[in-house]
Symmetry: D2
Subunit: 90 residues, 4 copies
């Protein structure tokens, strides 16, 4: 279990609102470039939320594995991060 | 005004649902790496929606400027695309 | 034929030098994180060069198609840009 | 010190060759879209090299910190990875 900060949850709720706003823009037949520009804003907000979750993960789950002294658990955490890197860069 | 396809609107509605799902994962204290992996899925869905809107824009608004023979309008469309490129790559 | 600016050519020559620098770092068994950080610098330099070439393309080739009044050529240019978008975002 | 694989070094040498090829395309006034397409190929090659170096880093330096049992060193490695994530996503 990973306790996520209210700050991150609120950030995702704002992103949900932004996506709803884009749907409204599409339904209102707003100009394509304005819609695409708003989508960049959502992607930037997602990137900030990712960074936040990642830092919390390092300070929480990964740190717990370090404190446990359990080498297997530690290697697992590192392998997960490297795997995530590849997905992030796609 | 730009008439956007129902397909694109539905795609954004699914993205909204995915974001809501991520909020639930955070509230359920789901493992960080699972949340981050789900966020990559949202970003891929956003990228596909972007491509769709861009193609519709080229076939619609930009094509209309071409058909109009109005050079100023055509240059404006091109400048908007180049500007969008820079935002997309950030 | 597209006349490219000396500024862009020099930018690519600096990138070539940066890549050579990374090869040296690898041969000198420099710390992985330092190598990866230097690779981010190369990617940022590539992004700036891309923007420059794109702007020159809009002002040159695309503008020539606009001035020609040739609708087929204009649509070709737009289709190329949209196609490039998809590659850029991958 | 980090011993980097010959495979990675060769990969970077091929990238250097690709960048030199782009410089030649610019000097030969090749069409902008062809140049930009070739630049995407360089970025993909860079991404593959990054993944390789990162995996080697996890298996090498990070693993050594795990085996050492030195919690401070382990936290340092994790902090470096998280910091690199932020740079990678920009």
């Amino acid at each position: 279990m990973s306790a996520h900060s209210p700050k991150t949850i609120n950030r995702l709720k704002r992103i949900e609102g932004q996506v709803r706003g884009i749907i409204k823009m599409l339904e209102d037949e707003r100009y394509c470039i304005d819609v695409l520009t708003q989508m960049q804003a959502v992607k930037s907000a997602m990137a900030r939320a990712e960074s936040e979750i990642l830092k919390d993960h390092a300070a929480g789950c990964v740190n717990a594995a370090i404190q446990s002294g359990d080498e297997t658990a530690q290697r697992e955490k590192v392998a997960e991060l490297v795997d995530l890197f590849d997905k992030l860069k796609r």
